[in-house]
Symmetry: C2
Subunit: 281 residues, 2 copies
């Protein structure tokens, strides 16, 4: 396992951690000044009509782009809605390429608004992912399928476990260079009794490692994520398992925390992230 | 699959559904009058020093006992705490027997208060369960391991999936008559991509089927469960899968709903349960 001490160049800040409060140029400047080597932006921060500017600002700050967040949900009430999602995601893959992001992160979508049919909606998600393959091949961008905590199955993601993500990668495999891999996020997967076995099985399909912490008293499952070290997740063990697959990507901090970290000064948040990455991860 | 139309005698009310607001005698009377054939009480409703009285009241109302809820958490900070949990659960198994309950439901416990070691805590749970075997054999009561939604992994249950519960049953199997099986609760397992395969694999280990619904806009994961038909779970499909294993036990309604159903008149709640069981399950 890599030693993170003094190696913030191996660490990445996902802009969600800072609460999307500033333009990407300003965020990139802060993240670089704090010593991090990587940044993962969200679509709402990028002018997708002119992504070159954001890309230049990030590179100009001396940062690499970890991944681009995230897909429009593939599930929708009808075929028109599903096609619109694919079109949106196709454009985002092109933008990821222009930003220099090797990955586009997929949050797949929960049940369609009127649906109780998990199997049909999962098939629609797979169809939507498959429709992106030509653009993925043309750009060289890969999609990192992110299993979300089962709490979000109804409204955000019918992809809930690493094992399921591996199955989907296998289903989507067309024999060419792999277009799909997996983003392992500590918050979403720490509870999984098959965690170690699934990561081992995922092997080189693991494309991203996201960290934060699960607070024992979590009451808002969406916006109450904890800082590394403040919760119950053995993040060091998780990183060990992931790096045993050969993973050499950055360790990315992604914390949604409306009532706590998003209220603090961004530079303070970055300083705490830096310390906790080295002490707890 | 059994036809539930006009067959409330195949249906069970878990007393949690009524919010634990009345003595067990009064609850039994209401449940029987509403036409149900079964009742599953909680420990706080039973005087465990004199369980015969409650048992007589339930039988006197013409009801059978579905299961007895539930274990003290097996995880604790130290061996003294773990032994106390085993002692408490041993007594509860005896009480279940006196109540005529074929099952004692196990909610296993989350991480011990100071722990981040899921593997150690899971081992402690298994040790605690194994320690109950002599009492289970002596009484004929079986433990129904209930996987809880992964949302509860930190504070309530490190048993999170049916597949894991099967693995635990196999680990606990000592070659004698089976002491352990599984309680399948729609709320906890509906999201599982391996749901159908796991139920099929569980086979005759499925000892209980609990129903309610997952509300799409669930915000309080503990006390905001929905009435059958008000959420996203395909309960009919779930019952079909469970009954395909040969399951012939009652369909049990267990709804924790602080802000809604627990505020309503118990007889109204029972009437709605009766209708929804027949229409949505």
């Amino acid at each position: 396992m890599r030693d993170l001490a003094g190696r913030l160049d191996l660490c990445c800040i996902n802009t969600a951690t800072l609460g999307h409060r500033e333009p990407i140029e300003r965020i990139a400047e802060r993240v670089a000044r704090a010593g991090f080597g990587w940044l993962s932006p969200w679509r709402q921060e990028i002018d997708e009509a002119h992504p070159q500017r954001a890309g230049a600002a990030i590179r100009g700050a001396g940062l690499k782009v970890g991944g681009y967040c995230r897909t429009t949900y593939f599930t929708a009430d009808d075929a028109v809605g599903r096609r619109a999602a694919i079109d949106s995601n196709r454009r985002a893959v092109e933008v990821a390429a222009e930003l220099g992001a090797p990955l586009f992160v997929a949050v797949c979508g929960g049940l369609a608004p009127g649906s109780t049919d998990v199997n049909a909606d999962r098939r629609h998600i797979l169809d939507g992912l498959a429709a992106l393959v030509p653009t993925l091949r043309a750009t060289g961008v890969r999609i990192a399928l992110e299993p979300l905590h089962p709490f979000y199955a109804a409204d955000r993601s019918l992809l809930s476990t690493i094992a399921q993500a591996i199955d989907w990668c296998e289903l989507l495999d067309d024999g060419g260079p792999p277009c799909f891999g997996i983003a392992v996020d500590a918050y979403h997967v720490w509870w999984d009794p098959a965690l170690e076995a699934s990561i081992e099985r995922a092997g080189t399909r693991v494309l991203a490692l996201h960290v934060c912490d699960w607070l024992r008293q979590t009451r808002d499952p969406l916006l109450d994520r904890g800082m590394m070290g403040d919760g119950v997740v053995d993040l060091r063990a998780l990183r060990r398992h992931v790096e045993a697959t050969g993973f050499t990507g950055p360790v990315e901090v992604e914390i949604f925390s409306k009532a706590d970290w998003w209220q603090r000064d961004p530079d303070e948040v970055l300083a705490v992230c830096a310390g906790r990455l080295q002490r707890c991860c």
